[in-house]
């Protein structure tokens, strides 16, 4: 199965700054999703963008999707220490299972 790549692998910023994470995938998709994983916890769904959408917003999150480049980005604006977590993109395969990217570890310094 395909595996997406995320870039950067790790990101450290100061509170109030914006954080941008990128994701690439290999096959055609119905939608792309972003999940957050706090240390030692399960994954939490953040946002879903359909293949016919180019941009989507949810609170401080902004997701873009470029299907021609098979890539997506997640922007977190005005970051907070509580945003410290690992962020994963995931695509939905033909049988509804998620295929995850390698993840970006975000550290927001207070």
């Amino acid at each position: 199965s395909q595996q997406g790549e995320e870039d950067p692998q790790a990101l450290s910023i100061q509170e109030g700054e914006n954080a941008t994470m990128n994701c690439s995938y290999k096959t055609s998709i119905n939608n792309l999703q972003w999940y957050r994983q706090n240390s030692g916890r399960g994954l939490v769904h953040l946002i879903l963008i359909r293949s016919n959408e180019r941009e989507k917003h949810s609170g401080r999150l902004r997701v873009t999707l470029d299907t021609s480049k098979k890539s997506s980005s997640l922007l977190i604006t005005a970051s907070r220490a509580a945003d410290t977590a690992s962020y994963f993109c995931a695509t939905v395969g033909p049988r509804r299972a998620l295929t995850f990217g390698s993840g970006t570890r975000l550290q927001v310094q207070p």
Binding site: S1, R41, R96, A97, L98
Partner: protein, 115 residues
């Protein structure tokens, strides 16, 4: 609270033992999954059940046997545990029927350590 729950949260055992991990969801979802997260945080699908029927079995050794007694439960039994089975195992659920696009809800994970 509505949620996906897993037990146990931590499992430490010796090589060669047999162990089970239980998962329950009270979200009314019709599809449940098991994922494995390795030490590098890479997540991979293992199994998927839809209405108690096995949908996905992703090249997992047959020492791993999922069991779904009903739509709300998906248990994972592992025979003859090996060192390489050490990982965090996540259960998840989603509602696939009705055109849902696949948002999944995850349990807190079970950290399995094989000594």
């Amino acid at each position: 609270d509505t949620a996906v729950s897993q037990t146990p949260k931590y499992l430490v055992t010796q090589m060669g033992n047999d162990k089970s991990i239980k998962c329950e969801q009270n979200l009314g979802h019709d599809t449940m999954y098991w994922y494995k997260q390795d030490s590098k945080k890479f997540l991979k699908i293992m199994f998927s059940y839809n209405n108690k029927e096995l949908i996905i079995n992703e090249t997992v050794p047959n020492r791993f046997s999922p069991k779904s007694p009903d739509k709300a439960h998906l248990n994972l039994h592992i025979n003859s545990l090996e060192l390489g089975d050490s990982a965090v195992y996540f259960c998840a659920s989603s509602q696939v029927g009705g055109g849902a696009l696949g948002e999944q809800f995850f349990g807190p994970g079970t950290r399995l350590t094989v000594l």
